[in-house]
Amino acid sequence: MSERINNLITRRKFLQLSGVLAATTAVTNPCRVLYALTKDSGEKSASQIREVFSACDMCFNKCGLIAQVENNVVKKLDPNPKSLKSRGMLCARGNAGVKQLYDPDRLKYPLLRKGARGDGKWQRLSWDQALDHAAEQLDKIGKEYTRCGFLFMAGTDMQSTFVHQFAEAYGSYNVISHESNCLLSRNRAFLDTYGVMPTPDVLNCKYVIMPGSNRFEALVTPDSMDLMTAKENKSKLVVLDPRFTKTATLADEWYPIKPGTDMAFFLAVAHVIIKEELYDKTFIKNKTFGFEELREHVKQYTPQWAAKETDIPAKDILRIAREIAAAAPSAMIYPGRRSSDYEDSTQIRRSYAIVNALLGNWDQKGGLLVPKKVKPGSMHIEAPFYEDNPDDRVDAGRAQMMFDEEGSFKHTRDAVIEGKPYPIKGWMTYKTNPMQTGANRNKTIKMINTLDFMMTVDIAMSDTAWMADLVLPAPSYLERQDPLSAFLASSTCSGVITRDPVVPALFESKPVFWIVKELAKRLDLGEFFNFTVDDFRKAQLKKIPEVAKALKEDGVYNITGPSFGIHKGKPFKTRSKKIEFFNTRYKDKGIDPMPVYKPPLVIPENHFRIVVGRNAYVTQSASTNNSLLWELAKENTLWLHPKSANTLGIKNGETVRVSSSAGNVTIKTRVTKETRPDTVYMDTGFGVLSKGLTNIFGKGACIAEILEDKADKISGNMAMHETFVRISKT
């Protein structure tokens, strides 16, 4: 019964039926495969189009959309004009969502690994067989290694809450999210400065310094659109980035800063603002803590000193500091999102947070805000306690101040490989792909090979699913009912969104809620899941009927009214109840209470620093195989400066070997002045191992293969810019 995934019978049948699906005609013409695979809804008129609200899931933004549905077939996805967060827009990825739904590469039924991990030999199982097997493994591992011997990892998804709830009922507190491969060090820094992670009011900002973030490609709604609007309104944008990104292209000024030196730039900006007394004295006195210490601390960090570190002229640092202070408080250092770069990434972001505080932009129009948020109700579970469990998470103590409810993928992986402080032998992943997004893919494989059992729930055969023992098919976001999600956005656009099935689920796919509920039943934990998603949503909506009404009528609930000037007189959630330039908790823990600059390691001769980034067509590894998006980005390339290429004797388009201590890959070059001579770059999401991703298998290289796995010392966030690579001809 075993068979190779790329030869699955149903896949052949699917492709036979879907001759037209491969072409884009699916959007406009009836196509046989869709009729063959969808249930008859009784909509007899081919011209009758249903419009159904939903929220995009092609990345984490959850932009509002309206699906155009005909005879239970999604013809097109349009933006929801009522969705203020997405400013009534839908990006290329959002438009391509229909191809996630009608993707021939989708997982269709449960699969059990046969043969070695990663060989791609599978046996089809019924759901009962699959769930019985998973429950048996959960029970066995729980009994043998304690409940904490099973690890759970769920990506950013509106149903991930049910995976967390299942882990809690099952008894494991080893739960990690994707966030430690992304933005935890940023959150750590701002939480430890402001007591909260504020939201930037880009729309009303008059002067933005954007260090590293690439908002015109790595899209965040509404910031990406608001930045464009702000620029039309004469806002100034200064970009610091070793790459000439699309954001740099549209900036007023771009500085190809030496990687790893952003803190030097911002400490020098702080030096100028304080020395020249360009700050709001009343704000500093009333709202901040440790200003005198900061004044002393930044005396050493002059623009002249920073110029040598950053490769940015001192006169420009001085001028920019004066300009942004003059534009304050409608001015900001953009906090950014992905901050998984250096071993001191929290302290780097602390320097951003500190300069923002010097600008006095807290709760100000065009500054850093904490918008009003709807608080939906919830359904608590009274999870049991398992006395034999260890006292703490498996990764506890490996970072100085890890978030308890997030953990660290890097440190958990190390702990699993070492088997210390206790063994972990089971792993469940849901809609996350650490094989592609976690630095050092070989180490992830090593971790997986120490496990007795691994199960993955996903829409397609990601590289992580490819390595699993049991693979369970999930529906796309257009086929399922989700709980409510309340989101904080920017000016006047926070709100609530939800999803109902736009069309019935294809194949044998089942939502993760159903999967964990069925597992709970089999593990005598059914009492913790004796509800439906509908019940859950009713509990969420119980005290907010206005939200229910808006979701029904508009597909989204928007909080209207200004998001600034709403926290006057309120204390900050910090120890001092003020914005903390000086963090006493850090001092207690032996951490520098203010950011102390340490220069990045010198790049060894004949090496390059490799950096991570995004383009607008792909959400890391989640959408590179999407047939529409793949037309726009068929494989990744290595960005290499012409001077460096010339020194190495390498031509544009030539295939080269890129190696580090973690691994090596081959990839075609893109010789371009759009990166510094000492810095190389490639997109994430290619070079896959999974033959179940037919568009991109064999295309490009996997950056996770060559990234070494350093970590931010404070938060445990992966540090992905600490790798030096060699480049050679193949």
Binding site: H164, Y173, L191, D192, G195, F289, G290, F291, E292, E293, G377, S378, H380, E382, A383, P384, F385, N389, D391, D392, M401, M402, F403, D404, E405, K573, T574, R575, S576, K577, F582, T584, R585, D588
Partner: protein, 109 residues
């Protein structure tokens, strides 16, 4: 003057922290504490319950410290008396460790 005030403020903050750490240093089990809090406290301190809804983020670390320093003054002191010292420490570890201004504020209430 400002410097003196700042130094005094820092010293006060250190003092507050050292008190908290000394109790936290007795190694209450926050995981067990979460379970015990839900089992013993959330029965009343929940939305629509007979007492004010409470979760770790309802108070700052200093406020939780004050609560635990004065348990005998709580309206529910008789309920607390039924708990062992270890249970008390575990609940403290959960609430103090995930307080409003803690390094890891509770997300799940």
């Amino acid at each position: 003057m400002i410097k003196k005030f700042t130094i005094a403020a820092i010293a006060m903050a250190f003092l507050t922290v050292s008190i908290g750490v000394s109790m936290a240093g007795e190694k209450g089990n926050a995981r067990k504490g979460k379970y015990l809090f839900r089992k013993n406290c959330r029965t009343c301190h929940l939305e629509g319950g007979s007492a004010k809804e409470l979760s770790p983020v309802s108070k700052t670390q200093a406020e939780w410290q004050k609560v635990f320093d004065n348990i005998d003054q709580l309206a529910c002191k008789d309920e607390w008396a039924k708990l062992s010292e270890k249970d008390n420490l575990d609940i403290y570890a959960h609430l103090y460790g995930h307080a409003f201004d803690s390094p890891s504020p509770a997300k799940c209430k």
